[in-house]
Subunit: 343 residues, 2 copies
Amino acid sequence: MKKKKTTIKDIANVLNISAAAVSKALHNDSRISEKTKENVRQVAKKLQYQPNHLASALRSGKSNLVGVIVPRTNSNFFSSVIQNIEEVLNKKGYSIIITQSNESYDKECKSIDTLLYTQVDGIIASMANETIDLSSYEKIKSKGIPLILFDRGENDLNVDYIGIDDYNSSHVIVEHLVKNGCQRIAHIGGYKRTRIYNNRIRGYVDALKKYKLPLDAELLTEGDLTIEDGRIKMRQLLSLKTRPDAVYVAGDYAALGALQVLKEHKILVPEEISLVGFGNEPFTDMVTPKITSVNQHSAEIGKQAANTFLKYIENDTIEQRLNKIILTAELIVRDSSNKKTSL
Amino acid sequence: MKKKKTTIKDIANVLNISAAAVSKALHNDSRISEKTKENVRQVAKKLQYQPNHLASALRSGKSNLVGVIVPRTNSNFFSSVIQNIEEVLNKKGYSIIITQSNESYDKECKSIDTLLYTQVDGIIASMANETIDLSSYEKIKSKGIPLILFDRGENDLNVDYIGIDDYNSSHVIVEHLVKNGCQRIAHIGGYKRTRIYNNRIRGYVDALKKYKLPLDAELLTEGDLTIEDGRIKMRQLLSLKTRPDAVYVAGDYAALGALQVLKEHKILVPEEISLVGFGNEPFTDMVTPKITSVNQHSAEIGKQAANTFLKYIENDTIEQRLNKIILTAELIVRDSSNKKTSL
DNA sequence: TACATTTGTTTAAACGTTTAAGCAAATATA
DNA sequence: TATATTTGCTTAAACGTTTAAACAAATGTA
């Protein structure tokens, strides 16, 4: 037995006024008398009236919903970004719909379809690792709703992007390792096709050149940066005839896997091999030794992304162009790379 | 310049048929000829037609959207539950909307309002720590849409619940500690007002009685189980005149905080003090020593929650009653409590 | 007093679908 | 051949809002 939901008409009937008057009263229209407004509010409360979003969004062409697409939510980075997006948007009357791509291109396409289908007013997204074909994202643009990318972006889409300076971060990391006496620095990288990982790789390569360090092909790997990937790549590095004395891993999870392998092999970190991760996930501060990592300013990224969306809504502009907001990342030096203070 | 979105009418105009025919063709109605269907599909693709969810949901009274409310997404437990809910529901044509309460009662109420406003077909939720007043949840019930609770539930709502046997889990933990020779077992618990934490506390107390162990008020504490809470409570325990020889923490994050303090005090784990957490968060397996914990079967909980929702939809039943699915939790013994194999 | 403006409301159309009911043409059944 | 059934579509109403337009009554202005 379905319970009947209260509509604007029910309120109108009780008060013997038109549905339009009720609608206006609820929206505090200046042409409705204070008395009627008060009556409407009272009856609405008594009947437990809940506006029907479907109807109002359909009529007004605005859903007040913003879609957020992330590769996954169970990383501190993404969940912090989401939390900040939500905080900013809620204040302006928007709610967010979170979807996870699970790093899968197919799932991402489905998420986009679901969001468009739900008639969101905008989409804020970080792309899946797998994603190369951008047609799905082009579809968003072709619908004329604002698209804002963060962290994992793509220049070719010509939309707003908020992220950190990956290229430069690699420089900072390499510089830090060099200052700590490292000479043979390996890089466990992400897939080059993902822009941010490509930038970290380029930064690594160029920084090595700058410090006149050996650029050895066997010291540079690509992968999906899961814990398991980190373990595999670390084992590979350990099996080299000349081992590296430092490993810069492009993601914290993989860095953790690498650390596990190092510990299993009873290799002292940082004395024998220094380790640096990326992302500043909370666990980098929990393990022994604590892992040096890069703070990606998740909160700031979330806020900027939300504000960028709002900018489009407020200005009613729809023309989007490549517009990058690049934040400087911050190296958090911890035990795993700090030879002076460790032990 | 807003781009015009393609509607069913645009397709109808191109083919010189009625909008109704197009709608039926798209739904593969048996009364529409194969030829027309094919035409419709082609034109739809050419015009990049995307159905308008608002309109169809409004008309049909079904949004095919399910709301999921969790305290936070950045824990492995919740994100795994979500992932499994999504997997099951997607197959049946439902999408999910994830909202976080951030453990705040206010935020939870707002989330519920947003979801009801969005006209979701059902809500799957785990309650915030703060939540005592259930009126917000009663509102969901009063709208006649299925409500399914998991992990953090509440009997008084008389709805379906999926969770683990917290009371019994405490027994299993205490038993394990006793077998490892512990005599003075402390419990860093969650707030008693939250049912699951209350059950863990009751289980702890009853298990102590069963094994004729001292039930000392100073060994039992309540808190929000954050890392910081774990640190504070552990320091308190260490300052007692007779320290415990084992600490059972009702959450992994607090267990981690406790471990940090133990290490800072150079106390050997498990030799001097054994430690057990709850939740089997991935980091329990990453830190040194690895923390013994309880696997909460997140995947199974997610699947069961989704299937419970589907049951209501398929049977078109709306009458809900208290119906608990209780899974047996699994103790994962690791170094932090295993005196025999550690070192 | 006559006209203009403001106030408070109603009417009706619209948003993009779905769907019950209707109907003509084609096909089957007797 | 007459009637029943099936096929393939159309018409029109409905879902719950919002909003432009209209309008009567009240108030202001000359």
